[in-house]
Amino acid sequence: MVEILAPVLGPDLAPPVAGIIKALVLVAFVALSAIFFIWLERKVAGRIQDRLGPTRVGGKFGWLQTIADGIKLLVKEDIIPATADQFLFRAGPYIAFCASFLGFLALPFGNGVVAQNLNIAVFFVLAVLSVEVFGVILAGYGSGSKWSLFGGMREAAQVVSYEVPMAICVLVPVLVVGTMNLNRIGQMQAGWFFSWNVFRDPFLFAAFWTYFTCATASCKRAPFDLAEAESELVAGFHTEYSGLRWSFFFMAEYASMFAVSGIATLLFLGGWHTGLVPTDLTQLFGSIAGNVLNVAVFIVKCWLLVFVMMWVRWTLPRLRIDQVMQTCLKYLLPISCVLLLGASLWQLLMPVFVLNYLRYVIGGAVACGWLALLIRLVTGKPPAGEALSLGPALGRPGYELAKR
């Protein structure tokens, strides 16, 4: 970016302008993807709950629903409760959003498509994402409401706890590949899908699921959404918020969902690689076109993971706070430690033959599993009395895709 701008703006002005452009692009992306996610969430929730979701606004799929929501939020009255601490109440959402947004600075979307190619990108992303909780705490505390305070407290306890196993799970692939540079990690997974890290050894495979669970929890997504548990705390830490400030919290949430999904993709799932061609797409289609494809692949992968989070949210019931903490401290933490230890020992002790070829076994097995699932999805018999189905999860009458 700097190289492109330098001849036009001169060496002094190019870096700040490049930085500003990058930041703007990212902000735009975060905002847009938040809009998309909010719509997607509604649709997914609707489908899973056996209804259609938004349909009226914006034509067939209700795709304008979020825009409408946004406009509504923008014009809403900005209420600050009398008991609230003005300063903290105002600062909370921005802190949360800024923290989530900062994570994108080091997240490569394609080969070299990254705002700042940090050497310690993983670490950095995890670090700044962890700041998000501070905004939530401040919001909870500053609202001057007991519901909010409870939500903030829960959020703090939960996120601080889940950060530990999450960080350890992140360490497992970092340890295996030997770098924290996300771009580098992504490049290393070029090739067929079995060169993805997740198939490298059984510990990485397990680490992926553990990481994803922890990430779900640290994004305070269901079934770990204790901070905003509607049934108990009205709306948790953002009970007192409305309007734009409220929407910032949601932008932050969806942004961090995307960010942790991005990390999962980069660390485990081959980053921007399709896994269906043996090399990087930039080598096939050139730098620009290849990278555009790469970015698309990456975003799709992240969306898929975000979709899984939504799927989980609308499928599983919410845990109790003690169950949440117990899951983390008594299960996930030891599991992650064992995985770290196991991965280290695996690297040290396994013969080269196994190290090199096990990935084909795991990758093949998982691929076969997916294939079987897909075949089952397509050819499986629908529940009795229903005409057409795509599968047990989505197989509901009235689902557009199925009808088509």
């Binding site: 002094d12 300063f87 962890s130 501070f134 401040l138 601080v160």
Partner: protein
């Protein structure tokens, strides 16, 4: 003004102002917020200084961990929703005088040292985390003589002692673990006292 200089002034200003905010504010949670800004600003300073690993650690440990802990402490010990313990004006005055004195002495010391003013920044193009990793493993590249203190580390440059920081690092890790256990022990509910 170059980009680096302007960034420095920006970040340093935020950091210093937030630090002063910590001192000045009467409200402890707000103090925590100011502290957050100050710490984050320090992390920014570290980035500017090319120590990105330290910066990330600063954010991760301080902002993500310590500060949350602090706020926790605030909430656990709060007597009312908004607690402020006023400090008397005399104390303010005395403390300010002493603080200014101390600041003055420090600045005089720093400014008065010519070596500090002549010091030139090293090229920070090297990956700091790589350097740190090597240092932990005891692999130390040859470095020049020390112009800063005027005292050469060894007679000839490049003959630095190989010091591995892995063991201290491990010790610190274990230390941290022990401290956390100890803190948990200290902070756990004292049923005995409640009963009494």
């Amino acid at each position: 003004m170059t980009l680096a200089a302007s960034l420095f002034w920006l970040v340093a200003g935020v950091t210093a102002a937030s630090a002063i905010g910590v001192v000045v504010t009467q409200h402890i949670v707000r103090a925590a917020v100011w502290l957050l800004f100050s710490l984050a600003g320090t992390a920014g300073i570290f980035f500017l200084l090319g120590a990105d690993f330290v910066a990330a650690t600063q954010v991760f440990v301080y902002v993500g961990g310590t500060l949350v802990l602090v706020v926790f402490g605030v909430m656990l010990t709060a007597q009312g929703p908004f607690v402020s313990m006023k400090t008397s004006a005399v104390e303010w005055a005395v403390a300010t005088v002493v603080g200014l004195l101390l600041f003055g002495v420090l600045v005089v010391c720093v400014m008065g040292e010519p070596a500090f003013q002549q010091a030139q920044p090293l090229k920070a193009d090297q990956n700091s985390s790589t350097v740190l990793g090597k240092a932990f493993l005891g692999v130390v590249e040859a470095t020049a003589e020390a112009p800063l203190t005027g005292v050469a580390d060894r007679a000839e440059p490049g003959a630095r002692t190989r010091v591995a920081y892995l063991l201290p690092f491990e010790i610190v890790s274990v230390h941290l673990l022990v401290v956390l256990v100890g803190a948990a022990y200290l902070a756990r509910a004292k049923r005995r006292r409640m009963a009494a």
